[in-house]
Symmetry: C2
Subunit: 318 residues, 2 copies
Amino acid sequence: MRILITGGAGFIGSHLCDRFLADGQHVIAVDNLLTGSPRNIQHLAGRADFEFIQHDVTEGLKVDGPLDAVLHFASPASPSLTAPTSYMQLPLETLRVGSLGTFNALDLARAKNARFLMASTSEIYGDPLEHPQKETYWGHVDSIGPRSVYDEAKRFSEALTMAYHRKHGLATRIVRIFNTYGPRMQLDDGRVVPNFVGQALRGQPLTVYGDGSQTRSFCYVADLVEGLVKLLASDEPTPVNLGNPREVTIREFAEVINTLTGNTAGIEVLPASRTAGDPQRRRPDISKAARVLGWEPRTPLEAGLRHTIAYFQGVIAN
Amino acid sequence: MRILITGGAGFIGSHLCDRFLADGQHVIAVDNLLTGSPRNIQHLAGRADFEFIQHDVTEGLKVDGPLDAVLHFASPASPSLTAPTSYMQLPLETLRVGSLGTFNALDLARAKNARFLMASTSEIYGDPLEHPQKETYWGHVDSIGPRSVYDEAKRFSEALTMAYHRKHGLATRIVRIFNTYGPRMQLDDGRVVPNFVGQALRGQPLTVYGDGSQTRSFCYVADLVEGLVKLLASDEPTPVNLGNPREVTIREFAEVINTLTGNTAGIEVLPASRTAGDPQRRRPDISKAARVLGWEPRTPLEAGLRHTIAYFQGVIAN
């Protein structure tokens, strides 16, 4: 198969490249490197079965030759208020790639008669009033809040993807990705795992806001990628949640990271300071993924964190 | 003032043209005539203070000379399953004008340092769980349902408009328009007022689905236009509902129309047959419009319907 991945130099996109190459496929990664990094794919340079095209998908998307699948993963994705790569700092780029970019990626899939997989997000559920979230939950999203640049762009992409499916009969898949962690996250992207690991590796106390009892559900990236491969191969056109339903408190997370890194600086508790609209809790119901794809996450938190810490040690050493 | 109106040949857009011209402004109407009609603006042809540009706003939007305001009203807007002008029949055009079209209209406003007013809709509230709907209600929308092509396009446009306001300091206004009726609705657009009036003028029984107790809140178009003029002149960047909070049952509506037209064929009751996702009830809370704009609808239902019926009599006679 020839597979094109937009956002192919990003965190999840680059792991998809690795996986499809390991499975013997030909991979074309497209990325404008706005939030993706050449470092994530530098180990693939020179391979005959891999191509990298530095290009902004909002400016159209054309490639020579046949394609069997188009996976649309291009977008800023960090909710940090301050990180330069966050969608808060890139509001118009986020809205653009989630509309024009999705049109272009769908048009390419249609032109090549390829399967299309759209990377949606748990953020389309907003600040959910139901827990855990099933795919049938319609969400609770503020259309004009600061996070709406991402949430509404992704909701728009879902509507657009379904419209291509209904109107043109395109073979489309939609994944709603919950919090994912692993190697190739950015140290400074404002998310909790790189924040904690970065602090631990520098021997600093880990900053926990509030009492640390707020929970997150984190899926290791290799588990996610396994689910994505299964979803692409499936016949399921409606959205499928992929994530880890196991809830871990922020404090538990910090303690595991301090243990694994041997960090003795402990935890620093600061007053709660939520990002505007930051949901207190989000947890996937993955019964549909289990039923339709036979998928569930398998990597224990500690094992996933060991891989992640090893990666960040390498980044900091270089 | 020089004012540009996208969708200027549409139902509401053409009434805006009339109003601004009556107020002594210069008006540029832009419309690709996909769902708008040249008949709606033919009475303005030849005026020195009016220009019509037949153009698709999704293909970029450039005009010579200064502009003081850009009003973005271009979009299919009928929820009918079958009418050729409905967004159900034009899903990709609807998604395109609500994303690319809004980008282009915003970019034009920014280039001209003009005010921008975006036509949003009560449909961003979806199938609401709160009644009546205040602007602070986040809505209840299925991102992948058949109506999502309109609902999510409008939610996206709201997020995008707020992003231009926050990022570029653009003077933006957002109106959430509830059901509106009046002259220049299309006889065949599938909505209840033209449906009923068309049947009544043909001497047919009016088709009511279910028991007719479902309610609608209808605002006469002249009232809406008055509110739009006030909103544009205001300093309010967050969304404002405009609509008529008076709820009328479908059956009452049918009876008034039969009375006003002298139609003796009565009412035909058919089994309830909801459009997929069609909300049973939607009613604006207009306290914000009253407070911020000093606006409320003034036209009695009977008076509005008389004007509307007279218009459709002319359409059918020609």
